[in-house]
C-alpha cells in the first residue's frame, strides 16, 4: 500500500490543459459548459460504437480516457448503453454486418442526440470504401453531426470533434 501511495504522490497530476489552448477553442470549451448545462444537465454521456473499424480508432478513444486528457473533468463520460447516451461516437466504415446493429443503437439513443463519426473510414469509407461488405461512411447509415478525419485521429482531435458537436448546440 505504501508503494502504491508513493507512486501516486510521485506521479502527481499529469492531466494537461485543453488541447490547442487558443482563444477559439477556449470559447468552445466555455460554450461546452453552457451547452451541457442547457441541454444535457451538466454531463455529456457518450456511447462508442465500433461499426466495423480496424480497431485503430478504438485505440485513440482509449487514449482519450488516459489521465493526460481526462475528459471527465469536462463532464464527459463514456457509458455502457446507448439508452444512457447523449452522443454516439461511431468508428469504422459501417460493415454491412453491423448496419442493423448501428441503426438499432441509434434508435435506442434518446432524443436529443448527437452523432460524431470518427476517422477517415467513418468520414469517407476510407481504404475499405463501399463494397458487398461495407456501407462506407457512417452518414450512409445514420445522420452524422460532426466527422473527424484521421487514421486514426488523435485524442485531441476526437475531443475537439465532440466539443464541436456540442457547441453547435443543435441536439437532433
Amino acid at each position: 500500500m505504501y508503494q502504491l501511495l508513493k507512486q501516486i504522490a510521485k506521479t502527481g497530476i499529469v492531466t494537461e490543459p485543453m488541447p490547442n489552448p487558443d482563444e477559439a477553442l477556449r470559447a468552445t470549451a466555455q460554450r461546452l459548459g453552457e451547452a451541457i448545462l442547457g441541454h444535457f444537465g451538466r454531463a455529456l454521456a457518450i456511447r462508442h460504437v465500433d461499426a466495423g473499424s480496424c480497431n485503430g480508432c478504438e485505440l485513440e478513444i482509449h487514449a482519450l480516457n488516459s489521465p493526460y486528457a481526462n475528459p471527465e473533468r469536462l463532464g464527459i463520460r463514456f457509458v455502457a448503453s446507448p439508452r444512457h447516451a447523449d452522443l454516439l461516437l461511431v468508428t469504422g466504415p459501417v460493415s454491412r454486418n453491423m448496419e442493423t446493429a448501428l441503426k438499432r443503437t441509434w434508435e435506442a439513443t434518446p432524443d436529443p442526440k448527437l452523432v460524431v463519426a470518427i476517422g477517415d473510414c467513418g468520414c469517407t469509407g476510407g481504404i475499405f470504401g463501399e463494397s458487398y461488405a461495407s456501407c462506407g461512411r457512417v452518414s450512409n447509415v445514420i445522420p452524422v453531426d460532426v466527422a473527424v478525419p484521421g487514421c486514426p485521429p488523435t485524442p485531441a482531435a476526437i475531443l475537439q470533434g465532440i466539443l464541436t458537436a456540442i457547441s453547435s448546440g443543435k441536439g437532433r
Binding site: L4, G52, N55, S95, T100, A133
Partner: protein
C-alpha cells in the same frame, strides 16, 4: 527436395523465413495432417482461392508450421463441386476457417463438419461467394435475417445472457452467448464476423505497392506486424532484399508495438479488478510511448512505417539514443508497478486461477503468442526461426504453465522488459547504410510469405501475385486459434470475471472478420 519431417516433395520459397511449398491431392489431406500432427506440426492457417481464370477450379491452402519451417500446401479442387475432406477432426482450429471459406468461396469440407455459416451474416445470400473472381465487389444484396443457430443449453435453472455486438466498453463488436446457472458460466458461444468489410476481396483490386497500406489496417493494434509480414511477402515474391538497417529498424518498431499493447492491457487488467490506479499509471506510460512514436516515426501507432523494400523513415543516432533513455526510465516505472500489482491482494485474488487454459488443451487447439506461452506452449517465431535482425539478439522466450489470468499478466510484464532489452541492443548495433531497396519486378505468378511474431501471436501473410497485382492474399491473425480457447477459459468462471478473462487475451475481431 523433401521436407525434413515428412516424405513430401517440396519446393523452397525465396524469402526471409524458411518456407516450403507443395502441391497435393485433396484426397491426401487428412493423411498428411495426421502425419504432420504426429511430428508436432501446428496448423497456422487454412484458406482457399479461385483459380478458374487460370484454367483450373479452386484450391484449398494450408499453412503448417514444422520445426524445419512453414509448409504451404495447396490442394486443387474441382470447379463443379469444390469439396475436400475436412481436417477439423485433426486440427480443431480449422473448424471456423473451413466455415469462413465455405461462406466466402463456396469450398466445403465433406459431410460431418460443422456446416453453419461463420463470416456471412445477412449481407449476401448463401449462394453468392465474394471471393470468386466473377463476383462483383460492388454488388449489393438486400439484408436477410441472420438466424444463426446457437447451440441451446437446457436444464433446470439454465438461462442465456446474450451480449453484443455493441458491447458495454470501447471494444470491437462481436456477440457472446452465455448459458449460465446462477452466476456460473456453463457455456459460452461466440459469434463473430461483424466487422467483415471485404478485406481479402479489396486486396485483389490492388497492386503490390498499394496493398501495404491496407495490410497495415487489418488489425489496427498489430499494424507493424501486418505491415512487416506484408513487406516480407512482397520482398519474397519479387526477390527484393531490404537493407540491414531497415531490418533492424523493423525490429525496433515491432518491439515498440509489443510494449505499447502490453502496457495498455496491463492498465485495463488493473481497471477490471477495481484497481483504477493501474489504468491511470499504465495509460500514462503508454501515452508517453505513443508520443515518442509520433515524434520519431511520424505515427502514434507506427502505421505505414514499414513499407515493401524497407522502412519509410530512418532513425538518426541521437533520436535512437533518446528512445533508449526514455525506455530505461519507463522500465524502472514498470518494475515498480509490477511489484504493486504483485503485492495487491485484491488484484491477485482476481487474477489467480481465473480463466485457466491448461497446456494440454492450449496445445491441442493451437493457442499461440503470449497467451500460448502463458499456457506452456513454447513457441515464438523470433526464437524458433530467428531471421534478421533477431539471430544476434538471442531473444528470451517467456513462458509459464498455469495458463490463468495471472500467468498472462506475468508473461506480459516480462515481455515488456525483454522488448525493451531488444530495442536497446538493436539501437546499439544499428547497421549503417540505406533504409530502403527498390522493389524488383514480380514474375507473372510469384508467391511470397510473411510470417511475424506480432504482440498477440503469429501473423501470416500468404501472397500470390499476378504480375505487379495481387492475385490472392490471405492475412491470418492468431485470434483464429485463440477465440475458441476463450470459450474454454471462461468455463466454470463467474460472469463478472468474463471481461477480465477476455482482456487478459485481448483478441482481434477485425483481424479475424476481415
Amino acid at each position: 527436395m523433401k521436407l525434413k519431417e515428412l516424405p513430401i516433395e517440396v519446393e523452397p520459397l525465396a524469402g526471409a523465413m524458411p518456407v516450403f511449398r507443395a502441391s497435393i491431392a485433396a484426397a491426401e489431406l487428412q493423411e498428411i495432417c495426421v502425419a504432420a500432427r504426429g511430428c508436432k506440426a501446428r496448423l497456422v492457417a487454412l484458406w482457399g482461392s479461385d483459380e478458374t481464370r487460370r484454367g483450373a477450379g479452386y484450391a484449398l491452402h494450408l499453412a503448417l508450421a514444422f520445426p524445419s519451417g512453414l509448409l504451404w500446401l495447396r490442394a486443387p479442387l474441382e470447379r463443379k463441386d469444390p469439396r475436400y475432406p475436412g481436417i477439423a477432426g485433426i486440427y480443431p482450429a480449422a473448424g471456423r476457417m473451413q466455415r469462413a471459406y465455405a461462406d466466402l468461396l463456396g469450398i466445403r469440407p465433406d459431410e460431418g463438419a460443422d456446416e453453419r455459416k461463420w463470416l456471412r451474416h445477412g449481407a449476401w445470400p448463401g449462394d453468392a461467394f465474394p471471393l470468386r473472381k466473377d463476383f462483383d465487389p460492388g454488388a449489393r444484396f438486400a439484408q436477410e435475417p441472420d438466424r444463426y443457430p446457437f447451440v441451446p443449453v437446457a436444464g433446470e435453472g439454465v438461462h442465456e445472457i446474450p451480449v453484443g455486438p455493441v458491447h458495454a466498453g470501447t471494444i470491437e463488436p462481436g456477440h457472446f452467448r452465455f448459458s449460465v446457472v446462477g452466476e456460473k458460466i456453463l457455456r459460452l458461444e461466440e459469434r463473430l464476423g461483424y466487422t467483415h468489410k471485404g478485406v481479402e476481396k479489396r486486396f485483389e483490386s490492388m497492386t503490390l505497392l498499394e496493398g501495404a497500406k491496407l495490410a497495415g489496417r487489418i488489425s489496427g493494434d498489430s499494424t507493424v506486424a501486418y505491415a512487416w509480414a506484408y513487406a516480407m511477402a512482397v520482398e519474397g515474391a519479387t526477390g527484393t532484399e531490404p537493407p540491414g538497417r531497415a531490418l533492424a529498424l523493423r525490429g525496433i518498431l515491432l518491439e515498440l508495438e509489443r510494449i505499447a499493447n502490453h502496457l495498455g492491457d496491463l492498465g485495463y487488467l488493473g481497471n477490471d479488478v477495481a484497481l483504477s490506479f493501474g489504468f491511470s499509471q499504465f495509460w500514462r506510460l503508454k501515452e508517453d510511448l505513443l508520443r515518442a512514436n509520433a515524434r520519431l516515426f511520424g505515427h502514434r501507432y507506427l502505421m505505414d512505417a514499414i513499407v515493401p523494400g524497407g522502412v519509410a523513415r530512418d532513425l538518426p543516432r541521437p533520436e535512437a539514443e533518446g528512445l533508449v533513455r526514455m525506455l530505461e526510465a519507463m522500465r524502472r516505472e514498470v518494475v515498480t508497478l509490477q511489484s504493486i500489482y504483485e503485492d495487491h491482494a485484491g488484484a491477485q485474488d482476481r487474477f489467480i486461477m481465473t480463466g485457466q487454459v491448461l497446456p494440454e488443451l492450449a496445445e491441442r487447439l493451437g493457442l499461440n503468442g503470449f497467451a500460448g506461452r502463458a499456457s506452456g506452449v513454447k513457441q515464438d517465431l523470433r526464437v524458433d526461426y530467428p531471421m534478421p535482425p533477431y539471430p544476434q539478439l538471442d531473444p528470451r522466450m517467456i513462458s509459464h504453465t498455469r495458463g490463468d489470468v495471472a500467468a498472462r499478466v506475468l508473461v506480459r510484464f516480462e515481455e515488456v522488459f525483454e522488448s525493451m532489452r531488444l530495442i536497446e541492443a538493436l539501437v546499439q548495433d544499428l547497421p549503417p547504410g540505406g533504409t530502403h531497396a527498390t522493389i524488383a519486378r514480380a514474375g507473372a505468378s510469384a508467391c511470397g510469405v510473411g510470417w511475424i511474431e506480432g504482440w498477440r501471436g503469429e501473423v501470416l501473410i500468404a501472397l500470390e501475385t499476378d504480375a505487379d497485382r495481387i492475385h490472392r492474399l490471405h492475412p491470418h491473425d492468431p485470434s483464429w486459434q485463440s477465440w475458441p480457447l476463450l470459450e474454454h477459459a471462461v468455463h466454470g468462471n463467474i460472469v463478472p470475471d468474463f471481461p477480465l478473462i477476455n482482456k487478459s487475451f485481448n483478441l482481434s475481431y477485425s483481424g479475424e472478420d476481415l
